[in-house]
């Protein structure tokens, strides 16, 4: 993976020093909260319900074992012993004190990590495919480009105060595993007829209040020009994006308002000034960065391992795990393994410090010391020998990270919701837990097959509910928590936005609503047909009719309170001088 040189180190260190001084000036009352807020956000620090939350960047989802251990150390030293892996491949710590934040950033910098631009109206962490470099369907390894773009976007002087946040995702495989269609810019690395590498560029995708699937602005931008092309897109957005209404400020609204043709015309008019200029990426720079992402020392191995094959026949639990959590690898005899952070009873995406340390150890033992974070909020060991799969499975099981549910009903994408987030209208983690408990039977889940259930506690859609096959959105009705259910959303190559099935439900009704949706699916499905395909074939009506046909009684005793995370008192009050 990429390693910092002296310049990366110095830039990161000076950023920490800058923020340390800003925190000092805030605590001394020299900066008002209004002046400080934007500065702390651009350093990943949010003010949540109970405490500050620090969002640490995991650039394109790649982590070394040493970095994972540092995350564990931060969880122990400054937080409450756990962290949360987010849908943007970042890590969030929920119980941070303002005065500790500079020290945490110093600790992070010691392992070449940071929290730069993980919030604020700037270019955020660039996300990618968790199977980059190992996927069988990969056309181009996106990681060198993601790193080059990380550096370009880091402290870009012109784009720190955009109308709104700006998210970029890059993929290089046939299958889109990075949800590029729902990003402000989605990049898909492709090769043209001459075998040259370039990017198909999508623009104006996004979720939130106005979900929109991104539109192609260019089918092939040669790789050398990707910085200048993106710079023109962001510049046009900076100049023309709306700033009068926060809900209409994303680039997707601008693209819709003036149309993709006019938007493209402005971008290309701007690009004429910079195309082939000094910001054109050089072969030398690409080679320098790409040299950090060369293949590890793979052994020559047979395509399949005999012991694994035997175990597959004998051991149902192992074969379930193999079926769901183990993914094909481009090198014979290797596999990519997903460590599930979706065990029933645990908040989706949460990991304890002990699990982080243990995952680091597994990475060292089985996967060349590297891990990946997925936008589905799980972890990946990307380079595991098949002959190690049994040992890895046993170790992961002991750690509670081998639930064989990847891509299944309980592999729920879920935002922190009302337990933590000051924006939320409703709690999402407790409902995710209640749903996971109701459908905890792994045989039932395997029978239902691939399905994505995504949940957000408010319309900002951090839980990607619009693109869930089943989407749940927390809404506030007269101070009470209700949940709106949609079906038909999907991410990936065939992205679509879900449609709401009807009036919303209470917390206690929602698991039964899911059960009824699944009932219709099981009744109507063709053999091997996935939930999303049944929805697309028969439409919403049969689902809707069945869900609302009979009154939905609230499951007895099922309340949000029962599942609520203990809102532990925060012993150091949020510091707010002059308030």
């Amino acid at each position: 993976m990429y390693r910092y040189d002296q310049f990366d180190h110095q830039i990161t260190a000076q950023r920490v020093a800058q923020f340390r001084d800003q925190v000092y000036r805030r605590l001394a009352g020299e900066l008002t909260e209004d002046e400080f807020r934007i500065l702390r956000l651009q350093n990943g620090l949010y003010m949540q319900i109970h405490a500050y939350m620090l969002r640490v960047a995991v650039p394109y989802g790649l982590l070394s074992a040493a970095q994972m251990r540092m995350l564990a150390s931060i969880a122990r030293k400054y937080d409450r012993g756990y962290g949360h892996f987010s849908t943007r491949q970042n890590v969030q710590f929920n119980w941070i004190k303002l005065q500790d934040a500079p020290d945490i950033l110093t600790d992070l910098a010691s392992v070449e990590m940071h929290a730069n631009q993980t919030s604020g109206n700037c270019i955020r962490n660039i996300t990618s495919d968790e199977f980059a470099g190992v996927a069988r369907d990969e056309i181009v390894d996106p990681r060198p480009y993601a790193e080059i773009l990380r550096q370009w976007s880091t402290f870009h002087p012109e784009f720190a105060y955009l109308p709104r946040k700006f998210k970029i995702a890059v993929t290089g495989a046939t299958e889109d595993r990075a949800a590029i269609a729902v990003h402000d810019i989605g990049l898909a690395a492709v090769k043209n007829a001459q075998g040259e590498v370039g990017f198909r560029v999508l623009v104006g995708g996004g979720l939130g209040r106005t979900p929109i699937i991104g539109t192609e602005i260019c089918d092939f931008v040669p790789w050398q020009h990707v910085i200048t092309y993106l710079e023109s897109i962001v510049r046009v957005y900076n100049e023309y994006g709306r700033r009068d209404n926060i809900y209409k400020a994303r680039i997707k609204i601008l693209v819709k308002a003036i149309g993709i043709e006019e938007f493209k015309r402005r971008v290309e008019a701007d690009w004429q000034f910079t195309k082939d200029g000094p910001c054109t990426i050089t072969v030398e720079e690409l080679n320098r960065v790409a040299a950090f992402f060369t293949a590890p020392d793979y052994e020559q191995l047979p395509e399949n391992d005999a012991a694994v094959a035997a175990q597959l026949c004998e051991n149902r639990a192992f074969s379930n795990w193999m079926q769901r959590n183990v993914k094909p690898h481009k090198v014979p005899g290797y596999a990519a393994v997903v460590l599930s952070l979706k065990k029933t009873g645990i908040a989706p995406g949460d990991a304890t410090a002990k699990q982080m340390d243990a995952a680091a150890e597994l990475a060292e033992r089985f996967s060349f010391g590297e891990l990946r974070v997925t936008h589905m909020q799980n972890l990946v060991l990307a380079d595991v020998k098949q002959s190690d799969l049994i040992a890895l499975w046993q170790a992961a099981r002991e750690l509670g990270m081998a639930t064989p549910n990847i891509g299944l009903l309980t592999d729920i994408i879920c935002c922190p919701g009302g337990d933590f987030c000051s924006l939320a209208n409703a709690r999402s983690i407790p409902l995710a837990k209640a749903i996971a408990e109701r459908f905890d039977n792994i045989d039932f889940q395997h029978d239902i097959g691939e399905i994505e259930l995504n949940m957000s506690g408010c319309m900002n859609a951090c839980g990607h509910h619009h693109v869930g096959n089943i989407g749940i959105l927390g809404v506030d009705k007269d101070g009470e928590e209700w949940y709106q259910v949609s079906i038909g959303g999907a991410q990936g190559n065939d992205s679509s936005l879900g449609k709401v099935i009807g009036p919303s439900f209470t917390f206690a009704q929602t698991p039964e609503v899911i059960a009824r949706l699944l009932h219709v699916y099981v009744r109507e499905r063709f053999a091997d047909e996935h939930f999303i395909d049944t929805v697309r074939r028969i439409g919403h009506t049969p689902f809707k009719e069945y869900v609302y046909a009979a009154p939905i009684e609230a499951a007895e005793g099922l309340t949000g309170e029962e599942y609520a995370l203990l809102a532990a008192p925060y012993d150091t009050p949020l510091y707010a001088p002059g308030v």
Binding site: F7, E30, F155, P157, A160
Partner: protein
């Protein structure tokens, strides 16, 4: 007092802003070293262009291109930041410096604060009318937060990877 070329200097320019009832065409521009709104310049170009020591300022929703053929007329061009979080001024500066080739004083006015000045300097501002309630000496420190930068901008014509030899892979 303003910050110019990294030092605190006395400043005798007056930033002229339209009052609520003023119209760009009829407002009387005071004598002396005045920085006028773009709209006033456009409405009164014939009268104003004979003056020496004239400046113009752009609001954040105005465009550098509107000054295209007039740049020679000004000893100073200013860009207004109505709120420090309004980032349009950075792109205006970029256009003035790199597209229109403006080389004179480029001054940030309005909600100008220390913690934004490093980026402002990078895109081409060389003068900063830091907000009156803030200590100018403190604000000056904001110009030296970083020794290296990744991107090309007005201050560095080359991105870091063309500027220096960087560290290689393992």
């Amino acid at each position: 007092m303003i910050i110019k070329n990294k030092t605190i200097i006395n400043d005798d320019w007056i930033v002229f802003r339209l009052g609520e009832k003023d119209t760009p065409g009829s407002v009387v521009v005071p004598p002396g070293k005045v920085i006028v709104p773009l709209k006033v310049w456009q409405a009164q170009r014939d009268v104003l262009q004979v003056r020496t020591g004239l400046g113009v300022w752009l609001a954040s929703d105005e465009r550098a291109e509107d000054l295209k053929s007039d740049i020679e007329n000004f000893s100073v061009i200013a860009v207004d930041f109505p709120k420090f979080a309004d980032g349009r001024g950075y792109s205006i500066a970029h256009h003035l410096r790199t597209r229109l080739g403006y080389t004179g004083e480029l001054r940030a006015i309005g909600d100008v604060l220390r913690d934004q000045m490093f980026y402002m300097q990078r895109v081409g501002f060389d003068a900063f009318a830091a907000r009156a309630d803030k200590d100018k000496k403190e604000a000056l420190k904001g110009l030296s937060d970083f020794s290296f930068t990744y991107q090309a901008s007005s201050d560095e014509k080359l991105p870091l990877f063309r500027r220096i030899q960087r560290g290689g892979g393992l």
